[in-house]
């Protein structure tokens, strides 16, 4: 550190790394929560097994990756396939109760989550598992005079790409159009000849794949352990509450906000760290209940062209 640095720079300096880390953490939550939002927003299914699907991805990379790039790519493929497959199984399990209320679906998916977590512990033991990543990503890099984990920097880039791709798919493709149409008016979409069961299956498979991606890529940050599913589900639900269900952009903003609250917020006000996240959630809920401000309501839905 130079002795002649301006006082302002000195004051900001300790918070640079937490702020950067908030972006990495927030993007991880975005990838993890986007599947949850997709399920709830499009298929109207409250999928409480989403955290368990993340855990499946995280365990996959712990088992398959041996610090080589090839094994990481293989783990990504297998993790996504496993997540998507598990999503398909969930769709099958949910088919009989699709006309029932959210509580029934929540009970079913929560039961699946409990069974899934117990099976993972039975298969891999009660300890956290190590995750081996390629040497180039395992070290630290210099960021504005601070050391920062190389993996998290790489993760910011990849997760940023995923966010852009997701936005484009929803905004510009035929599939995305269908998704937006289903969010707006599912009955009308059904009248137009699109089978709702197939939309539901597609959405759950896509959401499962997103959870798998998040699990594989996020494992070095929130690693495979018996608590993983609960942690991810809890943070994902907070993102859903904060961001609402109707746009990718709102989900992204909410995820980044949660990331920053968990890092920058904690660095700024360590004394109230345990309450920060839920205070923010309560504040948002209180404001929402009085009606969403007009300038916010006219945000474009699920990506921007409607």
């Amino acid at each position: 550190m130079t002795t002649r640095a301006a006082p302002l720079t000195d004051a900001i300096d300790p918070y640079l790394i937490p702020a950067l880390d908030g972006v990495a953490y927030g993007l991880l939550l975005f990838v993890a929560a986007s599947g949850l939002v997709l399920c709830f927003g499009v298929a109207n299914i409250l999928n409480l097994a989403h955290g368990a699907l993340y855990a499946v991805g995280a365990y996959t990379v712990a088992v398959l990756a041996d610090a080589s790039w090839g094994s990481l790519a293989l783990a990504l493929v297998v993790g996504v396939a496993a997540g998507a497959g598990a999503g398909g199984v969930l769709a099958g399990l949910l088919a009989p109760v699709v006309r029932r209320d959210h509580l029934t679906q929540a009970l079913l998916t929560f039961g699946v989550a409990l069974v899934g977590s117990a099976l993972l512990v039975a298969a891999f033991g009660p300890d956290s598992l190590p995750v081996r990543i390629p040497a180039a990503l395992d070290g630290t890099v210099e960021v504005a005079g601070h050391r920062y984990p190389a993996y998290r920097l790489g993760f910011i880039a990849v997760a940023g790409l995923i966010a852009v791709a997701l936005t484009l798919v929803v905004a510009r493709t035929r599939v995305g159009m269908l998704v937006r149409a289903t969010v707006d008016d599912a009955d009308m979409v059904a009248c137009l000849g699109v089978n709702p069961a197939r939309v539901r299956l597609g959405v759950l498979v896509a959401a499962g794949a997103l959870a798998g991606v998040a699990g594989v890529l996020g494992a070095p940050i929130i690693g495979p352990a018996p608590t993983t599913a609960d942690t991810v589900l809890m943070l994902g639900l907070v993102v859903v509450v904060l961001g609402g269900l109707d746009s990718v952009r709102n989900t992204l903003l909410a995820a980044l906000a949660v990331g920053e609250i968990q890092t920058l917020g904690v660095a700024l006000t360590p004394a109230v760290a345990p309450f920060l996240l839920f205070t923010a959630m309560a504040a948002v809920l209180a404001v929402r209940s009085r009606g969403v401000p007009a300038w916010w309501r006219f945000r474009p839905r699920w990506g921007g062209t409607t």
Binding site: D13, P14, Y15, I17, P18, D21, Y25, V121, G125, P126, D127, S128, L129, P130, R132, D138, G139, T140, H146, R147, Y148, P149, A150, Y151, P220, I221, I222, G223, A225, P226, T227, T231, M234, Q262, T263, L264, V266, A267, P270, A273, P274
Partner: protein, 398 residues
């Protein structure tokens, strides 16, 4: 008050007869179970075999069973019937399991219990039934210790034992950070109180330990930034389980990774060390045990353990093994057909106990060990990393 009609009276009578019959039958069952084979001692082992603490609970069960296997399933010359029950995540599951052991299985002694909260909730039941408890892990603060004996440690002892070493070996201030719950408060208080009393200086801005929300903290980066800004020359901490894995992995890639890390031994004990991998190298920790201690008792303990397990035994397994050793000596000293009260009285008179950790004895005031603590460092051991003893620290307890 109207009298019951004929039918309902008849029904009530039938009910009463049935109830009486059931009591007789269950009573008979109870008697049959209670007596057992002559001279058999019934020992209940309560440990977390599912949930968050499954890893620790399994070690506790295996440590006790190992001692029994090495001694022909006999303690103090009596055949042992071991009844294992699941403590689960804490008091709400531990109490019904303990109630079953006491009321239905009619145990003579209870051992095990992972969580301090579970011990606090179960202990009154044991006191009421006059059953001694030889605990092997969790130990809350208790006023009345007449029937509790702990073979592990008190939570503030690791920190107290390493404080002097840290003062002598760190040039500058030390930052104290730990999880915000009872176990964390006790562990960190042990260090900070002793450390500041003997002239050490904390780097924490207000001189108080930095607490991280537990268990929801999975990202320690903002705390590392604070430690960096404090100008500390070393860090002292205590975490266990998943939090220990997260803390160590993130520490190794943080901007304070060059600061020496001192910790209560649980940070790198058992399964977490495997998950931490290379990130744990060189961490110093304080604990009452290490599998590489050089004494006869430990050599036979480790050799027997390895016959049935992949890894090395932990302090959790060792403390449970010692609980069996304590009962072995006490039951032998308690006479021909010892009652629970006689076993309890015999434990008080045991004196020195030979253990894989070296010899120790119960403190007459706290009923927990007066024992030597060791400084360990995570070092290469063959193909894996292991906690290697690098020196003796203070003898603490009582």
């Amino acid at each position: 008050m109207p009298f019951p009609t004929g039918t309902s009276r008849c029904r009530a009578l039938t009910g009463a007869v049935l109830a009486l019959g059931l009591t007789l039958v269950t009573g008979a069952c109870g008697d049959g179970d209670g007596s057992g084979a002559p001279g058999t001692i019934k020992i209940g082992l309560l440990a977390s075999l599912s949930g968050t603490y499954e890893a620790v609970g399994t070690e506790i069960r295996d440590g006790f069973e190992l001692y029994l296997r090495m001694h022909d399933n006999k303690l103090g010359g009596h055949e042992v019937e071991l009844i294992v029950a699941d403590e689960g995540d804490g008091a709400p599951t531990a109490v019904p399991a303990a109630t079953k052991l006491i009321k239905q299985d009619r145990i003579d002694v209870l051992t095990g219990i992972v969580g301090g909260g579970s011990v606090a909730a179960v202990y009154p039941l044991l006191n009421e039934a006059k059953i001694p408890f030889v605990g092997s892990n969790g130990r809350p603060e208790l006023r009345d210790v007449s029937r509790i004996w702990t073979t592990s440690y008190l939570s503030d002892e690791p920190g107290a034992a390493i404080a002097e070493y840290v003062r002598d070996n760190v040039r500058g201030e030390v930052f104290a950070i730990g999880p915000d719950y009872q176990g964390g408060w006790d562990e960190l208080r042990g260090f900070t109180e002793t450390f500041t009393k003997i002239g050490g200086k904390l780097a924490n801005p207000d001189g108080k330990t930095l607490w991280t929300p537990f268990p929801q903290t999975t990202n320690f980066t903002p705390y590392f930034a604070q430690i960096k800004a404090s100008g500390a020359e070393a860090v002292y901490t205590f975490y266990a389980g998943t939090a220990a894995v997260d803390f160590v992995k993130q520490y190794a890639r943080s901007e304070i990774r060059d600061l020496p890390l001192y910790a209560a031994g649980f940070l790198t004990e058992g399964g977490v060390l495997n998950a931490q991998g290379e990130a744990a190298r060189n961490i110093y920790s304080v604990l009452n045990y290490s599998p590489d201690l050089d004494n006869a008792e430990n050599r036979s303990f480790v050799a027997a353990w390895k016959e049935n397990h992949d890894g090395l035994p932990t302090t959790y397994a060792m403390a449970s093994y010692d609980a069996a050793a304590v009962l072995d000596k006490a039951i032998a000293a308690a006479g021909e057909n010892p009652t629970p009260e006689e076993i309890n009285a015999a434990i008080a008179g045991l004196g020195q106990i030979n253990s894989p950790r070296g010899t120790w004895q119960f403190s007459p005031t706290t009923h927990s060990p007066v024992q030597k603590w060791y400084l360990r460092q995570v070092r290469q051991d063959g193909r894996t990393l292991s906690n290697t003893v690098v020196g003796d620290l203070a003898t603490v307890g009582g």
